[in-house]
Symmetry: C2
Subunit: 386 residues, 2 copies
């Protein structure tokens, strides 16, 4: 068959990040995603910082493959077109503040009258009801209020923001999962669904490995720098002759192999490092010795040497080095998209991050210019083009 969502049409009222990421995943699975955008500028992500071209790279990254119809939802004609469009759609996704879709006349109730089996997904900061619903919610704020910022860094450092909008991304994927589940449910039962996704709630679920145990044992989680959950001083990040490397030596035999590999077999017999407990107690001096041992080679040199003796090791890489690896091509992580008229003629966008043996995810169209498909979609709806 063709892609799993081919023939599924999505009315996409979202903007900026969490919503467009949700529909991006659905687009990769073959859905016909139609962005409904205001004729005045459209999705604000089109323009970003000094890039006022309407095709800023962060917009391209999550909107390639979609179509765009420009509609003024505050005019009766625009609203009527939206309603005609909605009657043909399987899914609605929106991420306005709670109440805005109602005021526009596009509430879940209204959409269900137009299309009884519609799947309607609202994404917001704190959800569609409750005392927090009107609080402002950008990624940075949710990282603060959800506890995310309290978990990263050394015990003594102030709270640190995860340096990219991880909440938007996790929320988008979670919404895509909820929508995919609802499409399966509709396939089996014929019924639509209403889905209420909140960035705050998604952030809590993202911390399941921390918040889950806390709900059971009530032990306050503490920041622990770059050490892993074992708290082993040799499961940490270290400087080398050039670059940093993360090691995962926790068990006794891993510790011993590490000591030999870095030319410090003497550490094995040192009573201060005799077992896991004593190593944790003497973490400071052990760390110094490991740093001395690692100083003879670069991180790139150490990585294969240590992995070869079964000491888990990974170079701390920066984005340009990561992106240059052939792995990204071998694993179809980058999708080349022809982009006639854009400065580059072709761009690469990220794929879904998993491989299918059949009907692989992917897209082959550039992101739409604002309103690029207005006439095309109006024709599909048998509506006169304005």
């Amino acid at each position: 068959m063709s892609k799993v969502l081919s023939g599924i049409r999505i009315a996409d009222f979202t903007h900026v990040l969490s919503g467009p990421i949700a529909t991006h995943f659905l687009c990769l699975m073959g859905a016909d995603v139609i962005k409904i955008e205001s004729p005045e500028g459209g999705d604000t992500m089109r323009n970003y910082g000094t890039d006022q071209s309407g095709m800023a790279p962060p917009f391209i990254a999550v909107n390639a493959g979609k179509r765009s119809i420009a509609l003024d939802l505050k005019s009766e004609a625009g609203l009527e077109s939206a309603r005609r469009l909605l009657a043909t759609c399987d899914v609605v996704v929106e991420n306005f503040r709670p109440g805005v879709m109602d005021r526009l006349g596009l509430s879940h109730e209204t959409c269900r009258k137009l299309n009884p089996n519609i799947i309607y997904c609202s994404i917001s900061g704190y959800g569609q009801f409750g005392e927090l619903r009107n609080n402002p919610a950008i990624d940075q704020i949710i990282q603060s209020t959800s506890g995310l910022m309290s978990l990263t860094g050394e015990p003594s450092t102030p709270p640190i923001r995860i340096g990219f909008p991880v909440v938007d991304t996790f929320t988008g994927l979670l919404a895509a999962f909820a929508i995919m589940s609802s499409l399966l449910r509709r396939e089996r039962s014929g019924e639509g669904q209403y889905i209420d996704v909140a960035m705050f709630d998604a952030a809590l679920v993202m911390m399941i490995s921390i918040l889950g145990p806390y709900l059971i044992n009530g032990i306050k989680p503490e920041k622990q720098g770059n050490r892993g959950f074992s708290m082993s001083p040799t499961a940490d990040t270290f400087p080398t002759k050039q670059g940093s490397i993360t090691l995962g030596a926790v068990r006794q035999e891993q510790f011993e192999r590490l000591c030999k590999a870095i030319g410090r077999p003497d550490l094995i017999a040192d009573p201060r490092y005799a077992d896991r407990k004593s190593r944790i107690e003497n973490a400071g001096s052990l760390r110094e010795s490991v740093i001395e041992g690692l100083a003879s080679r670069t991180a790139e040199e150490w990585e294969p040497l240590l992995n070869a003796v079964s000491v888990a090791a990974g170079v701390v890489r920066e984005i340009p080095d990561v992106a240059a690896q052939s792995h990204l091509t071998d694993r179809h992580l980058k999708l080349p998209v022809a982009f006639p008229g854009f400065s580059l003629e072709q761009v690469e966008v990220l794929n879904a991050g998993f491989l299918f043996a059949q009907d692989a995810p992917g897209i082959d169209r550039p992101p739409p210019r604002l309103g690029e498909h207005t006439e095309e979609i109006m024709r599909e709806l048998d509506m006169p083009t304005v």
Copy 2:
């Protein structure tokens, strides 16, 4: 109808974190998830640090609602039971190192012979093929090699680990999304699927808002501390009289409202802060003035005051304060699960993070003891219990 995945049976060969999180999401949607565990200890996550009870809280958090069958897959009897079980399952999920399922005699090819329409999902560090496939891959290592660690912190600070296993969690949700997509595809076409999910690939997709633009413009992303992407000095995290607060004042009118709210209207007229560009140039002195203004109240006091004048503000909270909020109950984020015989008699586990109007996600059973359902499942398979 009942939950979307009721009647769907999943053979769960996963352990520790990414795999169990994938099947946790599917369990919340109603699937019958059967953990196939080694009789010698089972999932290593059952015991964690000093907790050797077999029911460590991090295990409970992602395994409630599942069943457990203890099978020695290295014995012919155990393998035969596994094969009989697989013939009744819709989905297989495994997260061994690449090649282990083959060696056990449970490869995708074998499973497909037992069950032609099976959906088989392998989760690994770097994927099932390619030169990186045998590299060790725990969350901390992937955070290093994927570039994740290079993005968080101040420009001058060394790389910082996100303080919880975010890659495991994102990978688990991504695998759940891929499996849900494949279940819909099977519903429509009758066909099974093979899915190859890699933690490294998932980490790259998680950074789509950074890596996506980089693939287009080639501009190396730099760490920017707690400032948002606007780089506005008033979209940052600040100390207060007590606790820290994150503000999102970017636009001119937001800046002006902030200055008035903190009793520093004089800053508006200061030529150093006349517009966005000059505020970025004079970020240091502006930050000092804002900190002075905020020193009169606590973060908890400032949050409602600032939000009321439409300056986005969020207290940097820690996990205990987050978990205590009624929001978690109001939004069904916590599922109470009776747990007879466990020290608490009842535990709470996190729900899926989204709300459905119909057939809400959830579970109502505790996590299984190792092999708790061996006899029950053997009876279902018409197999003699050993």
